[in-house]
Subunit: 449 residues, 2 copies
């Protein structure tokens, strides 16, 4: 290839990754990167004792390598590839991870576990790690935009399929790969890109960010040794974009590259359930503060975006997981408990009599005029009073992001019952200080049990 010819997408992204530098990052980009890393580690700690992780670890531990890296929230250490896999699975298992507001990828789960594991094997500064994470998220969201929306409609889960590019790009940067090696890393990632929506509702859904983290990291490690791939893994005729999308939008890969940063469109869930339920919960919590503690509720009316009923319209959930996808349970439990964390989605809580009783009073109406971030909640009490709240932009949306204090509280709540309080606080402090750490591994190690 002549050096004058216009670079293809894969090469343009590789060039961007290889040239990226922490010192050129805007403060708000660094800030959001640190929030995202801290948050996803919290999610992984919260999920690390789930049976999904236990079963995967039982299956694979006999074949794992040296204890190089931390399994967050656990006592075991393992090789960096298995650490990336298991921490990636843990990041997603509670469905509590971050969401990129335009691509709808869960961006941090495939990327952060890869770079954190790598940092425990090859010393890097916290600043280098944050920079690598940020370019990984950029690449992942851009690759997802290239194949969207037909990609999702076909049945692909972009957190797996695009996630592997993010993990490969971030790992490539952290390993100091050249532009050419990064092209190969992205190509090796492309040819391992996988993850089917059919798996939703099973343990294999969480495998997607896990394998993306592991295989993306491996792609960069292989490229570093000169393992080659096609030069146009993304845009080639038989490459990722054309094969995994019926209508690829190749320009999306590079439009505004280096100017816009994907992390600035990232969102975090205050509540441990489907994102589309958040406006309703927000409204319920607002009304709860207005109602008298003894108020007897007679009827609850929800007005919601149609997607809410489509995705979370289950009126009588029987398990915690079903509860996470039931707007009826979510409204009821939020009104009773005044919160919607993991405990509100425990199996027992979903089946408890008070919640089941209140849930039966909830009626929901789809209103196509409402945005996904909006909802109306109306409560009628036994004394005849009626209370209404309209949520324009729910908490956790890009317009009303979680504050640092709320994020810290979420982190500590996720650590509750997994790490001792002092360890959790220390992990949080170190993650928050990542850009200042000489050795990023300090933060990763602090997350072990």
């Amino acid at each position: 290839m002549s050096t004058d010819s216009p670079p293809g997408i894969t090469r343009a992204l590789a060039r961007y990754v290889a040239a990226s530098d922490f010192r050129q990052l805007a403060p708000e980009v660094v800030r959001e990167g640190v929030r995202a890393i801290t948050h996803i580690v919290g999610c992984a700690i919260g999920g690390c004792r789930h049976e999904t992780i236990d079963r995967a670890w039982q299956a694979l531990a006999p074949f794992a390598g040296a204890p190089q890296a931390t399994l967050v929230g656990r006592l075991e250490r393992t090789d960096i590839l298995h650490a990336a896999l298991l921490n990636g699975i843990a990041s997603h298992v509670l469905d509590f991870d971050d969401t990129h507001s335009t691509s709808l990828v869960h961006p941090s789960g495939p990327v952060a576990p890869a770079v954190l594991a790598l940092a425990e094997w090859r010393p890097v500064s916290g600043a280098e790690l944050v920079n690598a994470f940020l370019v990984g998220v950029d690449v992942e969201c851009r690759v997802s935009d290239v194949v969207s929306p037909s990609h999702y409609d076909l049945g692909w889960h972009a957190t797996g399929t695009a996630g592997i590019f993010g993990a490969a790009a971030a790992s490539a940067r952290l390993l100091g790969l050249t532009e050419q090696q990064t092209v190969w890393a992205l190509g090796i990632a492309a040819t391992q890109s996988a993850g089917l929506r059919e798996m939703f509702g099973s343990m294999s859904k969480s495998l997607h960010p896990g394998r993306a983290a592991q295989n993306g990291l491996a792609a960069a490690l292989m490229a570093a040794q000169g393992y080659t791939s096609a030069e146009q893994g993304i845009e080639g005729k038989r490459g990722f974009a054309h094969v995994l999308s019926s209508k690829p939008n190749l320009e999306a890969a590079t439009r505004g590259l280096g100017e816009t940063r994907a992390i600035l469109d990232n969102t975090y869930k205050p509540f441990a359930c489907g994102l589309v339920i958040h406006p309703v919960i927000d409204g319920c919590l607002q009304l709860r503060r207005k109602l008298a503690p003894q108020a007897e509720i007679r009827r609850i009316d929800l007005r919601v975006n149609p997607l809410v009923l489509e995705l979370t319209g289950k009126p009588t959930p029987t398990t915690g997981l079903e509860g996470k996808f039931s707007v009826f349970h979510s409204a009821a439990v939020a009104l009773i408990d005044g919160m919607a964390g993991e405990k509100q989605y425990a199996d027992a809580r979903v089946r408890s009599a008070d919640v089941v009783a209140l849930r039966s009073l909830v009626k929901a109406t789809a209103d196509p005029k409402l945005r996904k971030e909006s909802a109306e909640v109306a409560i009628e009490c036994a004394d005849g009073s009626r209370h209404v709240v309209f949520v324009e932009d729910c908490v956790g949306s890009l317009a009303r992001p979680m504050t640092d204090a709320e994020m810290d509280a979420k982190f500590l709540a996720l650590c509750d019952g997994v790490l001792p309080a002092d360890k959790a606080a220390q992990a949080l402090t170190l993650l928050r200080r990542l850009p200042d750490l000489q050795d990023a591994a300090e933060a990763a190690c602090a997350c072990s049990a």
Copy 2:
């Protein structure tokens, strides 16, 4: 699901796998299974010193686990997942592996490395291993048929995408998984199915059977621990078939299941080059035996199926790899050397003056009336004599399969320069005796350097 409802494809295949039994195999099926396993191990030994394997191993060795399994042809041992990966890569790197004549999958590369590695970790008999291998090949070829031909046209490489199902099914059988666990193993395989044709010509092509072997084996190991997947990983609305094919043929999965055996449609290459070139080489070798040793060739005319020029029409190759996809080089070198093995496709041989000179005398004409197994070769000598041969079914085709003696000779030729002659002979003997071995690991271990 009621036990009366008709099983879906995934469950039907799982049931078939779980119920399979060596004692019910027809002798010719066992025979062909042993031939296929022996042959693919030979291919992997021949490929094991290729820089593709060296680079992958250099990249991944620091993260590998205990020395549980053999890297064929090498001194190192590694954990069974990495052994499956590296032996799978090695099986394909020379483009000398087997081809299923209807699905065109290279069936053994993803399956045999998985079960051979597993056999070194968990003692099984040779008979159990052969049976597991055979059901793996069945599942893999059937899954490929489900998504063909649009799958290939879209850009997928079935040796990767379908191969992982074969590895998962074979590993599931060898681990003694239940029907339900096998459903999960196939589902976990489905959601990791990957491999793009864009990678052809790069090292990442060989990654496809390698990752298929590794991830299929891991899928079975995870399912054994109760790691769940969707129930309809293959046929579900967002499952493998509908997502990776524009026109899936679901019936192909189970039509004649248990009656026809895929292995009986398997073919092996006598020559170390593209399959479509085989009829021409066959014809050249036949003519060479008729010509006087001093005959001066003036012109060589080939009449071939159009695919030959489409896939291997390169008139002036400059590397060994290009030579493997040049019908012109292949005809010339076969006429001079009287063979078409790895040495005839070394970089130096492709560039040597005698071959280049003869190659320039080769003319090829596409004839749509010719089948892929047929070709005509006509040679005109300086003395005016003209010699013509028509090959109806080339050696190595299903109609003219390689004999056991030819397969043995190919195995030993592939071992030449990698294993000492006595070790190669011993490995061959043990592989040939697989169905009689109490411990299949004996055969796997015999393939180390």
